[in-house]
Assembly symmetry: C2
Homo-oligomer: 371 residues x 2
Amino acid sequence: MAESRDTSENKMMQGELEVDVIENTLKNIRPVNEALYATAQKHLDNLTKPPGSLGRLEEFARKLVAITENRNPVLDKKVVFTFAGDHGVVHEGVSAYPKEVTAQMVFNFLRGGAGINVLARHAGAEVIVVDIGVDYDFGEVEGLVKMKVMRGTRNFLKGPAMTREDAARCLKVGIELANGYAGKGYKIFGTGDMGIGNTTPSSAIAAVLTGRPVSRVTGRGTGISEESLNRKINVIEDAIRLNKPDAADAVDVLSKVGGAEIGGIAGLILGAASNRIPVVIDGFISTAGALIAYCMEPGTKDYMFAAHNSAEIGHKAMLEKIGLRPILDLDLRLGEGTGAALAMVLIEAGLKIYREMATFGEAGVSDEIVN
Amino acid sequence: MAESRDTSENKMMQGELEVDVIENTLKNIRPVNEALYATAQKHLDNLTKPPGSLGRLEEFARKLVAITENRNPVLDKKVVFTFAGDHGVVHEGVSAYPKEVTAQMVFNFLRGGAGINVLARHAGAEVIVVDIGVDYDFGEVEGLVKMKVMRGTRNFLKGPAMTREDAARCLKVGIELANGYAGKGYKIFGTGDMGIGNTTPSSAIAAVLTGRPVSRVTGRGTGISEESLNRKINVIEDAIRLNKPDAADAVDVLSKVGGAEIGGIAGLILGAASNRIPVVIDGFISTAGALIAYCMEPGTKDYMFAAHNSAEIGHKAMLEKIGLRPILDLDLRLGEGTGAALAMVLIEAGLKIYREMATFGEAGVSDEIVN
């Protein structure tokens, strides 16, 4: 009987199961059929407008057709997943806010008062708040998805942020959510994060996986002083020297200098791609998760929309590495999924153009090019 | 009795009346009270997010508070005005499409099948289609606002596009619509255009009012060939040489190298500013109208939102002249008001942040900055 196994054996078995889930998910991800871009464009070029004149709205429609392998996709059920986790490295003074704010903001999300709640309502999307690694015992709280892998990461200035096993568990949380919400008929996912201190692991991931110097991918996060920024850069440099994350092994990078919510986001993206569901990547922290997913399986890229160009430096380097062009550029630097919710509104606009505009024939409009 | 006057006297009287309407409107425009930006920001800084972290969404909210002089503005009634007009200069082969498409597209707008219909529905905005200068007799058509000033402009390669009197009439059409819809309780306006050939007068206006060479502000519009582009540049250069529009007199520029729909848009903006109503400027053609309005009264600038960065070259020069930063950059080049409708969605997002987010006190979240 399972109950008779000792804890370490149990853990090993669990670890193997998680690896299976991840490997099966990776196996199911394949690049989209690019012929479908042309199929969709053919319809777009028959609508009452000069060819290509709706620019990126047309790109969004093409991409949705190719991702879903559906010539007439819909986006009726939308959801943003906001993964929350704490970070041991906040003890090094890398954040403007005390660690307690992570849990306080989780309550704010559940009451509907945060930025992500407002913007998701505006976009017609639900918000799913996931405790994947908050250092707080929420007990029974209505609306919270309790999938806690750890109570905060360890301070990665003293050793790895988490074990490889826990990193795999975080990925699996995201995959399970993706599978579950795909099964419930949701048509588009957005990623989001909450975690005081989480620009620090995100900058570490950016530095390791893009190969840029730490100082070029590390910014002020929620708004730290010049002095704290210098400390933050030193902390990340020291942590990379100490833990030696292997740039060729994204799970190693996630475990050594990452965070639970970043792992959850990476897993959600893997799960979205394996279910052929478009996923909108929020800002800096979400893109660190996206970069983990991309390095695990480059085919995920075809399923991603980059919501916006974050004000946080280092974001652009990660987007370039993946090869994504952001949709919005509004100087946002809040996270939570706020940029993803806004970008969903524009992606949906592109789909409505594709679905609702009249063709030249229907409208009796001349499509003859004369000059 | 008025009826006994001969036609030329009638016209003169009407001309004077229009000048009165325009002058009264200009007199009512004053820059916003900038102290209200700080008032609005104070509330924004008390919401559960790091100060300034919602970037331009916060800017939109501040601007709405200052424009409306209302600490709690609403945007419940939104409308995009699509002004349609024809252009004599199409005889010179400056457009990819035949002139007939202007009227055909007006019918498409009225049936709800065009890009602006789809995107305005998405934004929750109404579309008001205004015949201000189409070279077609629509007769009685449901839904069309009939304020025709002329049946197309004259070919400005042979002389002025219209008389100064007609230019004033076009401005007055826009002002009257603004006054009427302000009276009906609409809270935000968007501008839009339809007119085969209208990037040509817009480029002419851009060249005269920004002082840039014609070749630097003239692009391919709906998609003309290299040969047609060169012809278009030559036509505009010749027209400016012939008509000598006075850069210090925006109404002179509008009459000599402009268009009816551009005048209507300029008038709508003047009327919006005089009614303290925010107005979202669409793309290249609308910005030519905005530049006319701005040169008539620089105070209009405070009431304008620039919807997007058009793919048409020359747009940026006009936005810089006015001092506006576009909200979106989606490679759009359709016009009709499509960019304005999309930008409204983001402006409204900024307002919802301002109105709906919880404060630190309400949410029990710490706002203490520790580093």
